[in-house]
Amino acid sequence: MKKFLLIILVCASLNALILENANAAGISVDAGLTPPQDRWIIRNQFRYMHRKDDPTMMDRKMDTYAFPLVIAYGLRPNLTLMARQRVKHRKMSMAGSISRDTGLDDLFLLAKYKLYRKNTRDYTFGVATTLGMEFPTGDDDFGSETWDLKPGIFTSWRSGPWAADFSTAYQWNGFADKGKDGLNPGNELMVDLAFAHQFSIGGRADMSLSPVLEFNYKHLLSDRLSGQNVSNTGESLFFVSPGLKFTKSSFIMEVLLQFPVWQQQQGSQLRQGTRLIVGTRFMF
């Protein structure tokens, strides 16, 4: 078991391959319910993000491929520890020239604490709070270069085949320091709402398929330098995200498309295109 985890950690480190922010949740189902004690969860995702519609004459475009790996462990029934490492690959094109970069994002550690949970014959309701920390361990142009604090609150409700999840988190970027050249990166607010309906496959109890509909909002404040807002930074994004989740005993596969139905950027930033998330989860 320990060997298996070590291999996964080493592989994730070796895979280390980008500054598109890969937040704005996606597949946020189950967040308010802490897993059982001694439960391991390994979650791997592939996220594709596309930036386009350059308001300037430079015809800029950006494609980002992110590979986050999350390892979670139920230390106590009311406490879950989590580590996330993202590897990113970025392709940028400008006026016909293309550049590619690969690098490691910042390491993110998080603790989730169960505040409340009620299980009844008819429904399950849970509330959990989280406190996360992003360490400035990422490569140049990929990591934030600051210590970032991320508190959040998650709620989950289940009744029969229906599921609803709501979460909100605030990322205080550079809470303890400043970034490169004294730049203070903008803070982020994330609000996610997810609904799902579970269909049992072939009447089997160990297999199900769930259509998922998520609403993801992210507000990123402008970066600040010497007390002034930095131009061309800061944006608001709102996604409507349909998806599918397949569960087979201890394995979950999920696919989500995030359509940016509303967005507002400061200055001449690129606009957000449709995002794709494909992920797997192994639980043991």
């Binding site: 319910l33 059982p36 989860r281 043991f284």
Partner: protein, 104 residues
Amino acid sequence: MKRCIFLSLVVMLFCVIGCNDAEKGETAKTLEASETRQYEVFGMDCPGCHGGLEKLVKKIPSVQEAKANWVKKQLIVTLHPEANDEDIYDAIKLANFTVGKRIK
């Protein structure tokens, strides 16, 4: 010398057979002395969550087998007749689920 080696081998063989028989006897005894209990469990909401409960229940020394069903909201446990229900209830709590009633 040859006789000593032969005798030692025979003794070892008997020991091995004896041990195997003893194990078989113990297994048979364990199997004879087992019963199946059924509990109502609330909070399991998908095929992926019963694995965590089964893992915790199987850690209890007197438990031979545990099978949870999230659709029926049930946990079926094969265990020693003298096993305590409280151990099962504790495992269910550690899994963040809630015990209903003991069905069987």
